[in-house]
Symmetry: C2
Subunit: 421 residues, 2 copies
């Protein structure tokens, strides 16, 4: 064995001893990553990979401004929200300024799961309902309650949770509002009072659905008419990734009751939040106080402020739009040469490429997608896969990606699609 | 108004506008903290306060080694557990080395709430049960499920959750094991299968109960005999604070099925974990995978490793024992001069001082305790209060506290107890 193989074998065996068996790894041959910078990650041998998998390092890996602010604040003060401090207020004001004025309050949490879990607690307290509608391959998080709203993870739906088909394809999109309505009727027939419709506004796990803008509006109206809330899960699409707006819901012209934020918020630092209409939190506050030890601490807020400043100062939403369009156009052109590509979807730098079977290699869509993901890694690009059939490439590079890097991604994907198997 | 008052009024008004009404502040006159170092926090006017409230900055505020490791890793790589990396393995191995060999696996999460919530998910999956036993003024976290196991927060118990009296006073302690047994019988009579007994091993919110070591053992045996698990919530007592061992459960000679870690783990950085017997996770893994985006990221693990190294290198468990004994002895001496002190409890640097009424000022115990907490702040020391009657001072300085600082705390407490009201 080479040194590298010895080292990888050693890490794998230590990992299987010390970590729980619930952990999984990417790739047939797992990657040992040791450093990262901008859009690039580097393995233990010094090979570099374009990171188009991850929507977490939104301003690029190890962005110096973000690291500097993290360091500065960590050297000065890390404390919680039961003392007065500037950082959580400045961050809340900056976040709220990016949202419709109806959304007036922020509550800080540590992960997207915690933000969605709190949104559920608030929905139940405010509506008196227990019924939740989600899409049927959604992912919203890992807490006991939210795992029951995350069918992607394969666990049974929780009590009061109803799954409807995701808005996939023209018919699915056209029918989405009606399906919410029909689900409410089923719920009411079972004497379950609707609490909320919870959707990821770009349907990441369901397979990336972005167009036409506006199709979510009817669904939101329907849940509201039944006394429920509309929760926009922005954990994956948020922070400018869709290229039009800061938030995915804005593309649909809807104003949510609750918005949840997570993954990219701290560029990797564990910080998340919930934004809501103040009148809802007034009701919730009559039921309970809410304190989250790490949520809204001065360091996490300084980091999230730095991320917002970089998004603004480096014009990353505009880059998500322009480089995203460039990349999408390139993918659409690839589709003309590769019959394996069924459809290219998405907005900004949140793109989905639906793949079909590979008849020459006798691979059905799921296996062909897994082959492409592993082959892309060998060629130096990291992308994920998603969807109920596991046949959608999920492409989400840092918003700092430039055209030459997009060209590299297109070129290796072209090679992978055309490779002999 | 002075500049300081203007500034505080401004921050208060921004806070009530931007943050939700579920937020609360400490103190009749809230503190605006701007920096901290070691055991001291500094307000906007430069006044310093001995921080004996907080069990989070366990190695002292802004510890240089922890900040350096945070910075170093944040500059190098912040990524998740789906790639191979050294940091999560090294941390897991180091944590497991502090635990009985029966506890063999670590799963990373971001907050104590997430760790307890995952412990509940695992307990349900492994036992097939839905019944949980907690103490009647416990606090275990804020998720939808865990809030229902945290009566301190005033929300109703969740489905399947049974509260028993905390082991307060000699009779309460002696009867604790029996009460668990009787609760299991009530549960079974209601056709609820026991899943777990979940206790904070120093009963922080119930009012701090540390002695005699060993009293938890019978309770743990009883839940196991009924097919349930014993979950040791070490979020508050863990990481050496009790002065005898790294973990509170070790004082009781019990080996838990699941251990949850949180608050001090990253000295303020959002990181937490769950440790468990591998055979339990083998069963859980058959039900579901578990992935937590921020949990176990390379930066959080580097920070937690730095905290463990400081605890070891600066001999902080020994200091928790010796300075803790010194402080407890001083408090016991104060009790001889101040009839307002009913009892001094606790182990290491996790101390509880139960207060009675102040007859001269006609203040019942809860109000007298609130008076002391606010008066101590004016005299430069920060302590919390807890317990069902709100009459227990909760004293938890960083484990780096030295005798001169303990003397300062004793001296201001002496003044507060004797102050004319």
């Amino acid at each position: 064995m080479t040194d590298r193989e010895t080292n990888t074998a050693d890490i794998l065996s230590r990992r299987s001893r010390a970590l729980g068996p619930t952990y999984t790894l990417f790739y047939d041959e797992p990657l040992h990553i040791v450093r990262a910078e901008g859009v690039w990650m580097y393995d233990a041998e010094g090979r570099r990979y374009l990171d188009a998998y991850n929507n977490v390092p939104v301003v690029g890996h190890c962005h110096p401004h973000v690291v500097d602010e993290l360091t500065r604040q960590a050297r000065t003060l890390n404390t919680h929200t039961r003392y007065l401090a500037e950082q959580p207020l400045e961050l809340a004001e900056k976040l709220l300024a990016t949202m419709p004025r109806e959304i007036g309050n922020i509550i800080y949490t540590c992960s997207g799961s915690e933000a969605n879990d709190l949104a559920v607690r608030i929905s139940k307290a405010v509506t008196g309902g227990t019924g939740f509608i989600i899409t049927d391959y959604a992912y919203h998080g890992t807490t006991d309650t939210i795992a029951g709203m995350s069918p992607e993870d394969g666990v049974p739906l929780g009590p009061g949770v109803y799954a409807i088909p995701a808005p996939i394809g023209p018919e699915g999109i056209a029918k989405f509002g009606d399906r919410v309505h029909q689900c409410i009727e089923r719920m009411q027939a079972a004497n379950v009072r609707p609490a909320a419709l919870l959707v990821d506004t770009i349907f990441s796990s369901d397979g990336v659905v972005s167009h036409p803008p506006g199709f979510l509006a009817q669904a939101a109206r329907n849940i509201r008419a039944a006394g429920g809330l509309f929760i926009a899960d922005e954990v994956q699409p948020g922070f400018g990734r869709t290229g039009d707006h800061m938030w995915g819901f804005a593309r649909h012209g809807v104003i949510p009751d609750i918005v949840t934020l997570g993954k990219p918020m701290g560029n990797g630092h564990p910080v998340s939040a919930l934004a809501a209409r103040p009148e809802l939190l007034d009701v919730f506050a009559k039921h309970t106080r809410y304190f989250n030890t790490f949520g809204g601490n001065t360091v996490s807020c300084a980091v999230a402020l730095a991320v917002l400043n970089v998004i603004e100062n480096e014009h990353l939403i505009a880059n998500a739009r322009s480089t995203g369009e460039y990349l999408k156009h390139g993918l659409t052109k690839l589709a003309q040469h590769h019959s394996g590509i069924r459809e290219v979807r998405g907005a900004g730098l949140f793109l989905g490429v639906e793949l079909g079977a590979n008849p020459a290699a006798r691979l059905p869509p799921r296996q062909e997608t897994a082959r492409i993901v592993n082959d892309l890694k060998r060629r130096g690009a990291l992308v994920g896969s998603t969807g109920r059939e596991g046949n959608i490439l999920k492409i989400r590079p840092p918003l700092t990606i430039v055209r030459a890097e997009a060209d590299f991604l297109l070129s290796v994907l072209d090679q992978s699609l055309g490779a002999e198997v």
